[in-house]
């Protein structure tokens, strides 16, 4: 009989392997999709259809020289990418991927405070970026990181408020409870405003186009990771893509019914639906990047504080009124 902790250990290692592999191929798919949208083939030299490109990139990043600027704070400089990556990985401890009658919810752990755990861990991720830029001892990274911090905390507010509407309807903070509450209606219908706010803030939280002010190359070279090279840069890069995947999973769980099948197509297993919905979100991300120009920083901050925050609050008040009188 295999002890319980060994089972969890193997599951955890497998899950991490899946997450890292998904990152590698999400990166390839993004470059392909961007290529097609700009009428060029995208990466197609390494292996058939460019399928070995992630392996080639990884080998290159690992072998590249690892430089630490002499003005940098060496310990924190090395700690920052580690924090980013660790927090990006950690969220998957509570994300459920599916459910079956005999095995219950498919997740590493399924605490009642699932959504709070996700928010708490995701907030720590900001430290990686702000410390990385500060510890580089260089001007562009410093500016990039204070910008990033201000942007991420501003949008985190609207993000946490956009969840409240869902919590009112579901009456629970556990992620599988929220999915089960969507068996009849996906929350994207009653919480459409909340969903739109969440998607906007999710793009801003992960520092992706059009909110990639953090690495606005026309102003800040490469933002907070200007001084990083080799695999240490790679860690920030992995963290960014894993975070993209995380917010796609959260959007699927909170607003798009998780593993609930649409149109009563229940013969396809739930986990397939979950993966399909997450994949749609990832594609949406890439589409945004190919389509939209970058915002100006003052507009970005004004939008977060003057539009998203009041609209999110209004949304939760309206939801509460409806639940109080009708629910």
């Amino acid at each position: 009989m295999i002890p319980f902790w060994a089972v969890v250990l193997i599951k955890s290692a497998l899950l991490l392997f899946v997450v890292v592999t998904t990152f590698a191929y999400a990166m390839l798919v993004e470059r392909k999709v961007l290529g097609w949208m700009q009428l060029r083939p995208g990466p197609n030299r390494v292996g058939p259809w460019g399928l070995m490109q992630p392996a080639a990139d990884a080998a290159k990043l690992i072998l590249k020289e690892d430089l630490t600027p002499k003005t940098a704070d060496p310990l924190i400089y090395r700690l920052a990418p580690f924090i980013s990556l660790l927090t990006a990985f950690s969220v998957y401890a509570v994300i459920p991927f599916g459910a079956s009658a005999d095995q219950g919810t498919w997740a590493i752990g399924n605490p009642n405070a699932g959504i709070l755990f996700v928010l708490a861990i995701a907030s720590i991720g900001i430290y990686g970026i702000s410390l990385g830029g500060w510890a580089s001892g260089s001007k562009y990274p410093l500016l990039g990181s204070v910008r990033a911090t201000a942007q991420m905390i501003s949008y985190e507010l609207a993000m946490s408020l956009s969840f409240v509407g869902v919590l009112i309807l579901a009456g629970t903070t556990s992620l599988d409870g929220i999915v089960n509450a969507q068996a009849r209606w996906w929350f994207v219908l009653p919480q459409f405003v909340g969903c739109v706010i969440y998607v906007i803030t999710a793009v801003a939280e992960t520092n992706r186009a059009p909110f990639d002010l953090v690495e606005a190359e026309t102003e800040l070279v490469a933002g907070f990771h200007t001084e990083y090279s080799g695999l240490r840069f790679g860690l920030f890069f992995i963290a960014e893509y894993v975070n993209m995947l995380t917010v796609s999973c959260i959007a699927t769980l909170l607003f798009f019914g998780g593993w609930n099948a649409p149109f009563g197509l229940a013969m396809v297993p739930g986990v397939v639906w979950f993966v399909l919905k997450v994949a749609c979100f990832m594609f949406f991300y890439m589409w945004l990047r190919a389509t939209l120009p970058r915002l100006r920083y003052d507009r970005l901050m004004a939008f977060g504080w003057k539009v998203l925050l009041p609209v999110a609050t209004l949304n939760l008040v309206v939801t509460a009124i409806i639940v109080a009188y009708k629910g």
Binding site: T71, S90, A93, K139, L231, R232, L309, T313, V317
Partner: protein
């Protein structure tokens, strides 16, 4: 058993993986440092001045506002989960809370706290 035991085990595995990625460049990557490479990057010229660490005070203001409004957002959570039980009573309580906050929000807006100049 507590649902946090598997979470803790997973966090240990994630820690090990992240640690592996962090020490790997120190072991595998080649190193050939020279004084030019170790300069902080400044568009290819020698850095004209040391990093003073100074940046606009606006960023501090944003951080302070964040702390205030994030505590507010956190206090919505327990209320939201109980909304089906609290009904109209919970609604009125929360509306009073939001009105108090809205006064502060309007004050910050009027004072130009959200203005980025």
């Amino acid at each position: 058993m507590s649902p946090y035991v598997p979470v803790a085990i997973y966090l240990c595995v994630a820690l090990a993986a992240a640690l592996l990625f962090t020490v790997l460049p120190g072991l595998v990557a080649r190193r050939k440092p020279n004084p030019q490479k170790l300069e902080a990057y400044e568009c290819g010229v020698e850095p004209t001045s040391a990093v003073s660490g100074r940046f606009p005070v606006r960023f501090y203001l944003i951080a302070m506002l964040f702390v205030i409004f994030d505590v507010e957002a956190a206090s919505f959570y327990p209320w939201a989960v109980q909304m089906h039980a609290l009904r109209v009573f919970g609604l009125l309580e929360m509306i009073v809370f939001i009105i108090v906050l809205a006064i502060g929000y309007a004050y910050v807006w009027k004072k130009g706290g959200f203005q980025w100049r």
